[in-house]
């Protein structure tokens, strides 16, 4: 079968919509002055900027072996394309690049530790890996300001580290320990922090975080703050209806959603070719009326730059951005899944594009921002941190059975709920309460 044809993409951004004068709020529709027109995006140039330095043309399709009748996936395309260089960041300096690199190392080593804990029988349930996706998880979160909000998905465990959670937190979640943020009540990255790190907990259903994060931005804006709210969704997860509803809501309400679509090519065993028809998921941004951009998800600089631009747009009250990060999931869906359905040449192709190896090469060989010794020292330091975190997690107690009880409701003053950014300043119209007439058709 012929490989999918990739059209050349232009590098100018699709039209930016100016925010209307809205008298204090950035809800374009809600507070547009009476009589003024709502601007709609009507570009017909259909261009999405693409910062990648290569455009892999790999394509997966089902193939039935004529002799054995076995149906397998096959990959076609240029599997020998050379690995492109890391693209210099517009923003990051030496110190910041090294910080991101360190987080990526922590991410990788934490997951290796989790795998070992699993093999030692200390993990409850399965382990989900973000192998090959560390640049996306870490560099994206690195672009958030302290007051911004984020909601990781399962494979974004690196973002937790960037936001200040120690590796022991994730380990305790996986081991269902009493000192996990959910006190053992849920595992993996299903936890949150409304006080310090502004994290919203995911649930297992996909796409549901998107309208929730839009709501976070809405709540903050009602309190006079334009925060960036960052979350992620996979090429598989974005197929759900709630994904559409959430992005559309953020778009029409002009909320600062920074949405990373992690195109890692496999949703459990389903290749992206069976998930959607459009060429690049970022094209959907045109349909929503928001800016979209494609980045190389294995290039930390590209991920960061796109995230930074989107976060700044959000802070300026200019609404959502869709960032499609291209990469591949380098392990199975979870630890039990050997991913034998993935054609081996695909693993070989993307292994050469390992985000940590690429960034290491960039820092040590190209930019010479780390000497070989400094790099070795850094790796050792990271390993020691992970080991210390592992000790903390392993030695922490399991919850008691009775600890399952309680907390179904917020009662007896267990939370004092107040607007986080201060009571909204509201202006009331002068009209008093008047009784209404029923709508005619419903009398």
């Amino acid at each position: 079968m012929p490989a999918k044809k990739k059209s050349a993409t232009k590098s100018h951004a699709n039209g930016n919509r100016s925010s209307e004068d809205s008298g204090g709020s950035n809800a374009r529709v809600g507070t547009a002055a009476p009589g003024s027109q709502i601007e709609r995006s009507s570009t017909r140039t259909y261009s999405i900027p693409d910062t990648r330095l290569e455009h892999p043309d790999l394509s997966v399709h089902q193939h039935r072996d004529p002799k054995t009748d076995e149906v397998r996936y096959e990959v076609t395309g240029n599997l020998n394309a050379p690995v492109p260089p890391i693209r210099d960041s517009k923003y990051l300096d030496k110190k910041q690049c090294i910080e991101i690199y360190r987080y990526m190392l922590l991410n990788r080593k934490m997951e290796t530790a989790l795998e070992n804990l699993y093999k030692q029988g200390k993990v409850v349930g399965g382990v989900y890996f973000g192998l090959g996706q560390e640049a996306c998880s870490c560099a994206s979160a690195y672009a958030l300001a302290k007051d911004d909000w984020f909601a990781p998905m399962i494979r974004n465990q690196g973002s937790l580290l960037v936001r200040g959670f120690g590796a022991s937190v994730t380990m305790m979640q996986y081991m269902a320990k009493a000192d996990s943020p959910t006190r053992g009540r849920d595992g993996t990255s299903h936890f949150g922090d409304l006080d310090e790190r502004n994290m919203v907990s995911p649930i297992s259903m996909l796409g549901d975080l998107i309208p929730v994060m839009a709501g976070v931005a809405l709540g903050a804006r009602l309190q006079g703050r334009d925060v960036a709210v960052m979350t992620y969704i996979g090429d598989g997860g974005q197929s759900t209806g709630v994904t559409y509803e959430g992005i559309n809501f953020a778009a029409v309400q002009n909320l600062g959603l920074v949405l990373f679509i992690e195109s890692n090519l496999w949703a459990y065993s389903t290749p992206s070719e069976m998930q959607y028809l459009c060429q690049d998921l970022a094209e959907r941004a045109i349909g929503y009326g928001i800016p979209g951009v494609i980045v190389d998800g294995t290039d930390a600089c590209q991920v960061y730059d796109a995230a930074r631009d989107a976060v700044e747009r959000a802070h300026r009250g200019e609404g959502p951005t869709m960032i499609e990060a291209k990469m591949m999931r380098m392990k199975g869906h979870a630890i039990h899944d050997a991913a034998t359905y993935v054609p081996k040449p695909m693993f070989d192709f993307w292994k050469k594009r390992d985000p940590i190896a690429r960034f290491e090469n960039y820092l040590v060989k190209e930019k010479k921002w780390l000497t070989v010794k400094e790099n070795a020292d850094l790796i050792l330091e990271v390993e020691q941190v992970i080991e210390a975190e592992r000790e903390i997690a392993v030695n922490s107690p399991m919850p008691t059975p009775e600890s399952a009880e309680g907390g179904v409701f917020c009662e007896d003053g267990c939370h004092d709920i107040k607007p986080k950014y201060g009571m909204p300043k509201v202006k009331k119209g002068t009209g008093g309460f008047k009784e209404t007439e029923a709508a005619v058709h419903l009398k």
């Binding site: 507070t31 949150g192 297992s204 709501g215 976070v216 709540g219 309190q223 509803e245 959430g246 509201v426």
Partner: protein, 323 residues
Amino acid sequence: MQLTYLEAIRQGIWEEMDRDPSVFCLGEDIGIYGGAFKVTDGFIDRFGPERVIDTPIAESAIVGAAFGASLTGMRPVAEFQFMDFIGCAFNQISNMVAKAHYLWDAPAPLVLRGPSGGYVHGGPFHSQNPEMWFVHNPGLKVICPATPYDAKGLIKAAIRDNNPCIFFEHKYLYRRIKGEVPAEDYVVPIGKANIVREGHDLSIITYAAMVHTALEAAELLSKEGIDLEILDLRTVSPLDREAIAQTVKKTNKVIILHEHSRTGGLAGEIAAIINEEAFDDLDGPIVRITGMDSAVPFSPPQEKHFLPKLEDIVREARRLKAY
């Protein structure tokens, strides 16, 4: 003052938005149109478009966004144009909102409200009483007022409550009943039932529109010497176990009456509670009068057949009294 059930709800939300700037409304057509049933009529002029938000037709996004806003400390009141459409947001309500406090200590002080119930020839998708899906979901409060006084007091209580409350407003009652509603600020406690008619012979445990049909039946039956006690649940989850037990202990015979369909309905849950709390006080079997196990049909004679009627209550009360 005398207000309709709808005006009482409207006044309740208005008062809460007046006194608490963290309260805001979102839903379809609630802004300039004032809501399909006019519950938010005049709100956008008073409170501004920031606080009265017209959403796209996207129930999952409405609930999700309400939840997200509540995580920043706001108190959203989200409207479903008809509660029949609450199914479109089922996953958000069930898995995102209801479990948040238990799992990750995140309170969700939001209210999901809208019109439910039949007797208006609305057909299968504008007549539903979907409350049981949420009664069965730990972490949610489910409220179904029957009177203007309770409607206003309970919507205010729900807005002030730190937990997700689903507020079912019976559309048949919207403009058909009027009641005395105080001008001053008051709340009705969530989770407390109310005796709307004291009696000795048998108890009817019910809520929403059926309360009024039960009262009609009580009038009729009092003429033949059957004295009904009527317990209005007001909150369907959490149920007022004490009030249920008390009325059974007093009259020893009970009818449970609800509009929604029979199987897996609230009557089964209440019967189990009576079994646990007051088994020895029963002098007869627990009777239930419910809607049929089908969708709500459209044509008036069919809808009449589906829904519980005055004649059903009268017949069953006579039967149970004689037991």
